[in-house]
């Protein structure tokens, strides 16, 4: 089963690496400026000079697509760690202290979770003045409950096992039990959660960019690109929306697939 598990990890891993390679390496082979306007070639269809065409101000869509991809990877990573680190610490603290502090912390987390994530992110972005990085902060806050609740329940689950009692009986300190027993279990669960948050962050920030609350025009960001290109979709300039849309789809599918397979491989409790 372990063998099969690792095999099934191959496809999503290749997809994610391919995305990263294209987006990060593409800039080297396609050095056009994503912001450079050229009013002699506006709304040009895909061609050899512009494989993804140009937009209404003559900017190269491929250059913008690659820049948008780099931005998506960056915000995905920032949101992932921005939620993971405080979320996991909160969950750990709640589980280890128990009692009143646990109660207070988890009710705060419930409070955060009570908002629909996209609304919470919008509220934070509006409240702090809009723009990409306030939106990133908002999305990161909205992921806190995922991490904190999962971490808390994972710590409590592992702590309840007799092997922890056995460790205590051998004189293990709480710190030793944390490092030796809890971290390996909770770590793999957190990794799986992080991979799915990565995809969630990309699509949510693209959504916020689309409604004008995330990245601002003219930043090359996939959501913003779709907004800008939308009015041309009906007049036949499909390349303005299709390529960034495909970018979002690919990134989200690849990372979710990775998260799903990771949970198969790592979440197997090692009984294979």
């Amino acid at each position: 089963m372990e063998q099969g598990g690792y095999r099934s990890l191959r496809i999503p891993a290749v997809l994610c690496l391919a995305l990263a390679a294209v987006v990060l390496g593409g800039g080297l082979f396609w050095p056009l400026d994503p912001l450079a306007m050229d009013f002699t070639t506006t709304l040009a269809a895909p061609s050899l000079a512009h494989p993804m065409g140009t937009d209404a101000t003559g900017r190269d869509v491929l250059a913008r697509f690659l820049a948008g991809g780099r931005l998506s990877l960056l915000v995905g990573t920032v949101v992932m760690f921005g939620g993971l680190v405080p979320g996991a610490l909160l969950g750990l603290l709640a589980a280890r202290t128990g009692g009143a502090l646990d109660l207070i912390l988890m009710r705060i987390i419930d409070g955060i979770a009570a908002f629909p994530p996209i609304l919470l992110a919008m509220a934070v972005a509006i409240g702090l003045g809009g723009g990409l990085w306030t939106a990133v902060l908002g999305v990161a806050i909205s992921t806190l409950p995922f991490y904190a609740r999962l971490m808390r329940s994972e710590v409590l689950r592992v702590q309840s096992y007799p092997f922890v009692e056995a460790a205590e009986s051998m004189g293990a300190s709480p710190g030793f039990i944390l490092v030796w027993h809890i971290a390996p279990h909770a770590g793999s669960t957190m990794l799986v959660q992080s991979a799915s948050v990565f995809g969630y962050a990309i699509i949510t920030l693209a959504g916020l960019g689309f409604v004008g609350l995330g990245a601002q025009i003219p930043t090359p960001e996939w959501g913003v690109m779709i907004t800008g290109g939308m009015q041309y979709a009906l007049t036949g300039q499909w390349w303005l929306t299709i390529f960034p849309g495909f970018g979002i789809l690919f990134a989200v599918v690849a990372t979710n697939l990775l998260a799903d397979r990771l949970s198969d491989v790592l979440g197997g409790r090692g009984d294979a």
């Binding site: 109660l103 096992y161 007799p162 092997f163 009692e165 056995a166 460790a167 205590e168 009986s169 051998m170 004189g171 293990a172 030793f176 030796w180 027993h181 390996p184 279990h185 409790r269 090692g270 009984d271 294979a272």
Partner: protein
């Protein structure tokens, strides 16, 4: 060796938000003395408080009243470094050997945990110690590279025993060590425990619901019901002439040999 003096433990009581909850007396004023090289059985139905008693004896939970005494010293309220000699000397073997072994670790790592915690065995001696203990509990060395999930119930229980023995304990608290196993495997594990007791001079506190196993395995038996001691005596006298009604009913409920 190990002594419990009128230990008492209850669970429940005041809940959150001051809601009154029913308080359950799990262990009520139980006293017992486990002599060196002796096997003392704690027998009772599930819910009789015998596992709570085992956890008190292991100092995993603190009693509400009474004392745990080890080699003449009260260890009831010791913690940290002061408790280390007790921790080394008194080791548990649990019923659920699957949950008693960390499923993510290979057997080699599971058996290195006590050596890490003991701190007094040089790292270069670990492989030799681990190999010897595997032999002592009757496990082939190939199993060192396996995870608990791929072992049989009997093999897992042997790993659990090996881990406890690596602490070089004087007392093993055996909490239903064979209850989850097939009858034939039960006999193998019980025989192993008898051999280990002789070879290492161990004292056993043996918690079980199985009277037949207790009769075979124990010198003295303490019968518990609803947290209280209902009878105490040598295994032989208890089965020949039980005093308490409850013990008589337990004995009557034993499956007869065909």
């Amino acid at each position: 060796m190990l002594e419990l003096q009128a230990v008492r433990k209850s669970f429940g009581g005041a809940g959150i938000f001051g809601k009154a909850r029913l308080k359950t007396l799990a262990v009520a004023d139980i006293s017992l003395t486990l002599g060196t090289g002796q096997t003392l059985g704690i027998v009772g139905e599930s819910g009789s408080g015998k596992s709570t008693l085992a956890r008190i004896a292991l100092r995993l939970i603190a009693p509400d009243a009474g004392h745990v005494i080890f080699e003449g010293n009260r260890v009831t309220h010791l913690s940290g470094l002061a408790l280390i000699p007790f921790r080394r000397a008194v080791q548990p073997v649990f019923q659920d050997a699957a949950g008693a072994l960390d499923p993510r670790m290979k057997v080699r790592r599971i058996l290195s945990e006590p050596l890490v915690l003991r701190k007094d065995v040089a790292r270069s001696d670990w492989p030799g110690r681990i190999d010897r203990i595997m032999e002592a509990v009757g496990l082939p060395l190939e199993l060192l590279g396996r995870r608990p999930g791929t072992l049989s119930g009997g093999q897992r229980q042997r790993v659990g025993i090996a881990r406890a023995l690596l602490m070089e304990p004087k007392v093993l608290i055996l909490d239903e060590p064979v209850s989850a196993l097939d009858v034939s495997v039960q006999a193998q594990i019980l025989n192993l425990l008898v051999d280990l007791q002789r070879d290492f001079g161990l004292s056993y506190l043996f918690v079980t619901h199985d009277l037949a196993v207790a009769e075979y395995f124990c010198d003295d038996i303490l019968v518990m019901h609803l947290g209280r001691q209902v009878e105490f005596g040598s295994a032989e006298s208890l089965f020949r002439a039980p005093d308490a009604d409850y013990t008589r009913r337990l004995i009557a409920a034993m499956p007869r040999e065909l």
